[in-house]
Symmetry: C2
Subunit: 209 residues, 2 copies
């Protein structure tokens, strides 16, 4: 298809398509002469990924470029794949390196597989930012939260990932996290309401406690 | 203290302080003549809140203004407080209203206290965005995630919130979610690594499955 049809079918404007092509987010079409190119379903699929990362994941263009490059040339090992997915999604921390206290907290969680991984770095950075703003997460709370998130991860890391190509496994891990992180955070709020209703009552006329 | 000392002690530049004053994020100091004002610890505390919301929560200036207004004039009921906190933190959805299917999914979760709350709207929006990008969360998965997030919420909604002022309870709910949402998401990644290592092995040389 021509770029005009690609634009119509993907809902992405032609100037944005040209921008994605220039920035390497979208692979070039097949050249038909000096100024014309044709595009196929692989371009539609890639655009769907890019829009998900931009619209839902709010990733920067630089991050999206890293993601599509990693998907096109994925690492070979399953565990390295997950590290690549996590690295692509790791937020840029507002402050610098994680505090030594945060790294000690991680060591206490006893996760030998995860030492120095992008995920543990992200955890150390999140704990450092919370502590810098005066919010400390108690060790027992952190352990309970890890247990809860382990139950979530049991549904995330599906057996089928052992059977698909590395690029597909990487895409699954990145898109899955981008699309369901907001679901989890919304579920946390919903659960807070349920617990608050039980503990403090629901109406403004009922006294707390 | 003068604005120069407020700037030094808060680490916020004078132009940014003036911007916050103009935008209503920071309450005015006490006027000492036509052009001078003095500031106190309440300004330092407010700046700490604003910086947390901007730097960690990545909230827009408009959202931060809504938060500080809500904290200065909080609703009276405990449950309304939580709704106000959740509304302040609810992301602007990329698409429009939630799909009817997403609202049905919520109804199936049997959370009568939360009907039409900002949290349930956020959940419906997150499910709608995921579905629009081709990712459907199975009902059993959603129920397991809710159970996991309920364990988290049990530690979030602390009994002490029944004893503090409404403004303080609101600040606690907002700052707590802003600072610990990133911790939870990082714990999810760390847990994914642990589960992946168990299911697929850790090294690139071991075969998956």
């Amino acid at each position: 298809m021509r770029i005009s049809e690609l634009s119509e079918r993907s809902g992405v404007t032609i100037p944005t398509l040209k921008y994605y092509l220039r920035e390497g987010l979208l692979h070039p079409g097949e050249l038909q002469g000096a100024t014309r190119a044709t595009y196929d379903d692989s371009h539609l699929e890639r655009l769907r990924l890019v829009r998900t990362l931009v619209d839902v994941g709010r990733l920067s263009i630089e991050r999206v470029r890293e993601v599509v490059r990693a998907i096109d040339a994925p690492p070979a090992g399953r565990h390295e794949l997950l590290g690549a997915a996590h690295e692509a999604l790791r937020p840029h921390p507002a402050s610098g390196a994680p505090a030594p206290e945060a790294l000690e907290r991680l060591a206490a969680l006893d996760l030998p597989e995860c030492a120095h991984s992008p995920a543990s770095l992200q955890l150390a950075e999140a704990l450092t930012a919370a502590a810098a703003a005066g919010w400390s997460v108690e060790p027992e709370t952190l352990a309970r939260w890890l247990e809860a998130m382990r139950a979530v991860a049991e549904t995330d890391v599906v057996a089928e990932l052992g059977e698909v190509s590395p690029g597909e496994a990487l895409r699954y891990a990145i898109v899955g996290n981008v699309l369901t992180d907001p679901v989890l955070l919304a579920l946390r709020r919903v659960a807070q309401e349920a617990v608050s209703a039980e503990r403090f009552g629901t109406g403004p006329t009922r006294s707390p406690g």
